[in-house]
Point group: D2
Chain length 272, copies 4
């Protein structure tokens, strides 16, 4: 819907409604297109801003290796472009980590922060899971990449219960992943997380932060989330039982309720 | 602020704001007075309705033993009095159980249901914890009742972190519990839950239900909540880690975010 | 079966079989008599040593307030009396804490340590639960004390499943707790834990330590056990799901298997 | 050390010591060779029996697809060959499932059963993880298979803490997995689990069964273990916190303690 140039590269974004602004930062395999069914809900009382990171959706493709720094810079540039001083950020997985990194570097620009299935660093096990995806990308066709990257992000309960939905997704995703250009983008995005680590900078965060963990999230196990819980001063923690890494797919109503509820609720407490 | 007669007994309630209505049902030791700091937040986009159950706050005292039935009837009478067909209910502990019982009997009158630290029945262990409170009430003064009933409802982490707050509360509550009339009311309220059990009627619920469990809730352990999770068709489950039975005191911002978020969010899902 | 004098006070103990010695330290309401059904099992390949702490079973009654120090001293005196340099200790709750305190002060005398439902300190919440028990002891008869102290130590699942067993226990315990001398002893034992805290000395432990936690242990919640897990170098941790504080009653076969298995197994690991 | 023919195919096994017999059934990537460091410990008071399944270690290679039935038959044939009526079985992952299947079909031949990281069926998600391994096997060399199959079986804590050990294992395993014959065997073993499901036959088990679950086991999440817990009459359940699927590697002392303790402890309980 809209775009601007940052460092000579196109940044694609969308903006809906008005009110306290909410910027959603995508997970690695998502894009602005993923959010269609949520737009009405999120723009009812708020201004909703969606954006594609570099190598996502309709933003520019990269031609060299990079790290989260470029996506954080894109985030800041978007706020500048929109003339927004201070925004609420809701990040999912990769987007949670870019958002967390952005908030750590620029705490004054983030009013409230919601982190779904994110961590303060890429742990060695997660790095090697990423390497496994990159290896699978070497095989022709999209099946190997699909099998390496997709089942692992769901809880086994959802995977079984939603078999029809998963099968339809497989029909869409296997041909999508068969496209070498897509795999190259995903490899670059995956590699951009390899050295992510802001665990020692969490004390810089002074805004309320909602950490949403999923009980069956294998990519970001609860141990990693503990670092967030201990390191962030004004932290609020919720666990989604019976839910895997892709919590927004498994629990869409809770995603809306938690994000809108946390961003719009006034801070309060019981009087004595 | 307002009252009406039901079965010749006074029912005290308060109503604030307008919009999709939210009826809050109190925990056993709470009253309409507990909610002062939340009124602005909850009445911003919604109509907030507070009420004292019989034997609570400013509603009538009972003079005989009763069960949840009378409180459910009071709830229905309040909706009739206000001319509300269909309401969102947020219940806390005792109030969650009255609300759940009301929704099971009158599903058509409940749009969405939020249950904080409630169960579908009073388990034998919880019944005996109630008996322990009633025994402690026999000692003169309020200390024994305070020690029997209060520490057990907090997580040990909160109890330690908020020592000053707990000490101030103790100063208020020990003299309050020393009042024989107060103890008699609490005994009647406690006993009214003894035979509560709607576990076999949960399939009657067809509205979205948010179940909020606390990891360190000893009174309503997760096993009891499992009955809710398995029995309710459109159930959404969230666990608050590092939190005891009195979750609304330990996590007030999450209480607001979850309740307002869940009641006001549109139902949605990811398209394929 | 046997006794000796320590500080002019009688210490009662029992010893069975031969082999690598195992000293069992009782929970607060237990005594040597509790272990009858376990003797054959534990003395088959090991020397089993049972002992009553002061104010327990057949050891001397105290006439003044004390702390864990006197029970640790009793433990050391028993080993001296038996001429045992180095023993395996298995402690339950109160006994786990005395055993942990003893091991911290005298690591050279403990070969392996097994801690069922113990912590490194008495947290403020647990202290107040003890105060509630002491208040309940003021009421005549044993019912109030029974209701304050007993339900809380079981998981709700066990409490319901074993209703007949619980009812029989109630028949035995209510008259027992009605005895003022018994209540005085229990009050002294309870108070002796009030200031227990060895959290900062855990690094002195160099023996293998097995920490057994129960998922539904309200008295010693998992948060307190975390201190043990983080502080002890050679720690091995097991969680018993669906189990309360009185884990040895709820899971007797696992109690035997874990204790005998851990004490008698050789330390090993997978070669490359 | 010893072998016999079953259906014209070689079965390789080892036997050590005497006493109550323990048969260990290997995980999918293990063999009799894995157990060297445990032999002394396990044969001290027991007879230890190790065996290679078909397509494992020194037993015969298969030339066609098969399911668990053939490995169960091998297990029965081994007991016949050794003249053992009744054995204790300790199975790990794949071996737990073959052992569970064997016990369900022949309960009279199993005295006690210990299941590490096993389930009653292969859930759809686990089946697709297996498919991902099989896809990775198509790439030349052993790196893709290593990355697909190995990181996923450890907890992230262990993976990080034991980086040197993991690196050494990688140096051994990558060339091992590069061998096409090895990959073919692993593919056949993986596929043999695809249709495993004894969930509806668990009530046939009448022996004591120890179920050991690991908190961070992604391949066999706790939900699948619940089926075992609910379905087996005489079940005993232990959870290993901070531990992944390869629990025997992460917690070798607990593996020994639990297995030897459970198999050798007498059944007992507290008298009233």
């Amino acid at each position: 819907m809209a775009e601007f140039e940052f460092q000579q590269k196109k940044v694609y974004y969308e903006s809906y409604g008005s009110g306290e602004p909410i910027l959603i930062l995508n997970g690695i395999m998502m894009s602005t297109k993923s959010w269609g069914p949520f737009i009405e809900n999120f723009s009812h009382n708020n201004r909703l801003i969606l954006v594609d990171f570099f190598d996502q959706g309709q933003s520019a493709r990269m031609t060299w290796a990079y790290d989260h720094g470029i996506q954080r810079a894109l985030t800041g540039a978007l706020l500048d472009h929109l003339g927004i001083e201070n925004v609420n950020i809701c990040g999912i997985s990769y987007g949670a980590e870019v958002g967390l990194g952005f908030a750590v570097k620029h705490p004054e620009r983030v009013r409230r922060l919601v982190l779904f299935n994110g961590a303060a660093r890429t742990a060695p096990l997660l790095a090697d899971i990423g390497h496994a995806w990159n290896e699978a990308a070497k095989l022709e066709g999209g099946l190997a990449y699909y099998l390496a990257a997709i089942p692992v992000i769901y809880s086994d309960a959802y995977y079984e219960r939603q078999k029809d939905w998963m099968d339809k997704r497989k029909e869409l995703l296997v041909p999508y992943f068969a496209n070498p250009e897509v795999k190259e983008r995903l490899i670059r995005l995956t590699n951009s997380s390899e050295n992510f680590n802001v665990a020692d900078e969490l004390s810089r965060l002074d805004m309320p932060v909602l950490v949403v963990s999923a009980e069956n999230d294998y990519l970001i196990p609860l141990r990693e989330q503990e670092t967030l819980i201990r390191g962030i001063k004004d932290v609020h923690h919720v666990v989604l039982p019976d839910c895997g890494h892709a919590s927004i797919y498994e629990k869409p109503l809770l995603f809306c309720a938690l994000t809108l509820g946390f961003i719009n609720a006034a801070q309060t407490g019981f009087a004595l």
